[in-house]
Symmetry: C2
Amino acid sequence: MTDLALHLDRVSPVPLYYQLARALEGAISTGTLPKGEFLDNELELADRWQVSRPTVRRAIQELVDAGLLVRRRGVGTQVVNDQVRRPIKLSSLFDDLAAEGRSPSTDVLVHRRERASKEIAQSLGLPTGTEVVYLERRRSVGSIRLALMRNWLIVEAAGSLTTEQLQTSGLYALIRSAGIRPHYATQRIGATVAGEIEAEVLGVRVGAPLVTMRRVMQDLTGRPVEIGQHVYDAEHYSVEMNVVEN
Amino acid sequence: MTDLALHLDRVSPVPLYYQLARALEGAISTGTLPKGEFLDNELELADRWQVSRPTVRRAIQELVDAGLLVRRRGVGTQVVNDQVRRPIKLSSLFDDLAAEGRSPSTDVLVHRRERASKEIAQSLGLPTGTEVVYLERRRSVGSIRLALMRNWLIVEAAGSLTTEQLQTSGLYALIRSAGIRPHYATQRIGATVAGEIEAEVLGVRVGAPLVTMRRVMQDLTGRPVEIGQHVYDAEHYSVEMNVVEN
DNA sequence: TAGTGGTCTAGACCACATT
DNA sequence: ATGTGGTCTAGACCACTAC
């Protein structure tokens, strides 16, 4: 195993295991650690890098969870023979597109307060008729109209949002700036075909395939914060996910 | 915090952190640890259970990753206010349905060896024209025809499968019994509408919405093993996933 | 038999949130 | 000022794999 140019900063607030994990990740992506190569054993790595074995193990574990490394007892730790894609995260379409360097835009079609229907109230854990914020937005990239998004939010999360803010920022960033930390989301992905409304908003023909996404997001304490019911033009959008089994 | 009836078996080969995690999980699901409740601090738990603090931390970490607990530095560890669904795993539709107690059935429509096209060979990391196993199956539950599944597999994984085995077992179980351990999968979910072939096989009308899934599965060493290109009747199938942000 | 990762201990110091 | 979780150490013993 090559020596890996490691410069650990023991003063930095960045944890050692994190620095190690990033260094290993970099070595793998640049090919300094070739695919299929075995790492030296953990005791040797700990000695070489002058950290304890648990610290080495934690760094390695991160990359195992990400699918970059494989560990087998009695055998060793090996670089997986394939490049790995980003793991699934709690993000938004806006963030995804921004991260890809494309420039998304948002049209706010509806932005008002309304009283929660029975279904919405139930999903948000509120009494029927409680006031919630309702949003209807269209997300586009360049000239492509990508998604029609319908959201219901608790007033504490979105009561002070302006329509202007919604046009320039992702919803989750705005929720965070309201002091709410998204933590857990359940989402269900399916398919449907465009009706007249969807066809009109997205500029597709009636009967065109659409990807549907329904989501309930909860904050750190498990309180439901946001419901999303979105449809995407299947021509331009699909959901990618990676799954690791250890 | 209540005392939790813990009976750790220090002789068992089951790791202590795992026994602890299951005990905590059970206490949460039965309500012995109510939602919103704070756990005692880690030092106290370690003392009470007579294990070291790292062992306590590891048990807690498992439940944090699963979204059952939330930890905040300087504050404490708290039970999340919501029941959690199963996390996304590397499983198959067959397993999913079997786990739900429904009885799926499989019709093998095509089962043959063929030479890999350019696209298939590329995804499997093989030279074009290499022999692969091609499958076309229909999955039903009761009288509902749920999915049309097309798979390409490397010969080592599926060369000795019989059509009969395919009718009674899930593909992944068969791959495992061939000595191959599925490890990593990338899948992409989208939408389309039924053409004549899909409509015929699934018993839906032409133009009905379908969920599409394309997947490449790799084994422990990163070698691609299986490609799946499936379509599901959107009326009866959608994909649920849970996402945790820490 | 030798070598690997898997588990576990008993401490220590620190950063952060709360009072 | 106090108490919490976050990080880190330096060992130990074990289970599993390969030879």
